[in-house]
């Protein structure tokens, strides 16, 4: 892993088209501003991992469809 020291207001550039700027530092909280091309998706990692895990559990084999079919659109 590459580790860089940056101060508030300083930026790093990744691959010519992604820029990450430290916008504020308060205690142990750093705010980052990210500029990236549209096709790049950016996630908070812990949220992304949680969603991956949730998707794995949302597969249809675990459900008993007849339980759900009694419900109708409102």
């Amino acid at each position: 892993m590459l580790v860089l020291g940056r101060k508030k207001g300083e930026t790093i550039v990744i691959n010519d088209d992604i820029e990450i700027t430290v916008t504020s530092i308060e205690g142990d909280m750093v705010r980052l501003g990210i500029t990236a091309p549209k096709q790049i998706t950016i996630h908070r990692k812990e949220v992304y991992l949680e969603i991956q895990e949730e998707n794995k559990q949302a597969t249809s084999k675990v459900i008993n469809l007849s339980d759900f079919l009694s419900m109708r659109k409102k």
């Binding site: 949220v47 949730e54 949302a58 249809s60 084999k61 459900i63 008993n64 659109k73």
Partner: protein, 151 residues
């Protein structure tokens, strides 16, 4: 085209029903092509399956979140609109995954990360909302919903 489905066995569907998630779905990044199948033939149910065209075991159980959460509201960022090639808001279908552990009453749905599908261009993606009120594990059957259904 014939598709093997987890829930209904082999089904025959028109080729233009295939929806492409060009980034896949988190946890299933390599699986791009799906079909959306209503849970009941009459289309009365708010539940759906998103079935992979290639891998029968990849099939998500989904719900129309607006049926259960009347105030559910999502704002698509410009970037998402462009990526999905959405021209009209009415072309978008919003569905959320359902997880059941044990009893049906414990079912939860992921309001934090809905699947958005462009019904005209057959493109889809799962987006992550910034709204802190929306939970990854939101109980599907809230007390007030249950009450309403029993009336």
């Amino acid at each position: 085209m014939k598709i093997q489905t987890e829930q209904f066995g082999e089904v025959e569907l028109a080729k233009d029903r295939v929806i492409t998630f060009d980034k896949g779905i988190p946890g299933f990044e390599e699986v791009k092509d799906y079909v959306l199948i209503p849970a009941d033939a009459e289309g009365e149910s708010p539940f759906f399956f998103l079935q992979s065209v290639e891998q029968v075991e990849v099939s998500f159980f989904l719900v129309d979140p607006f049926t259960f959460f009347k105030d559910y509201d999502i704002k698509l960022e410009e970037q998402m609109v462009e990526r999905l090639q959405l021209e009209e808001p009415t072309d978008a279908i919003v569905l959320t995954t359902v997880t059941v552990k044990g009893d049906i009453s414990s079912a939860t749905t992921n309001l934090k990360a809905p699947l958005v599908i462009n019904n005209k261009k057959q493109r889809g993606m799962q987006i992550v909302l910034n709204n802190k009120d929306y939970q990854i594990k939101q109980a599907l059957f809230q007390a007030d919903n249950t009450a309403a259904r029993q009336v």
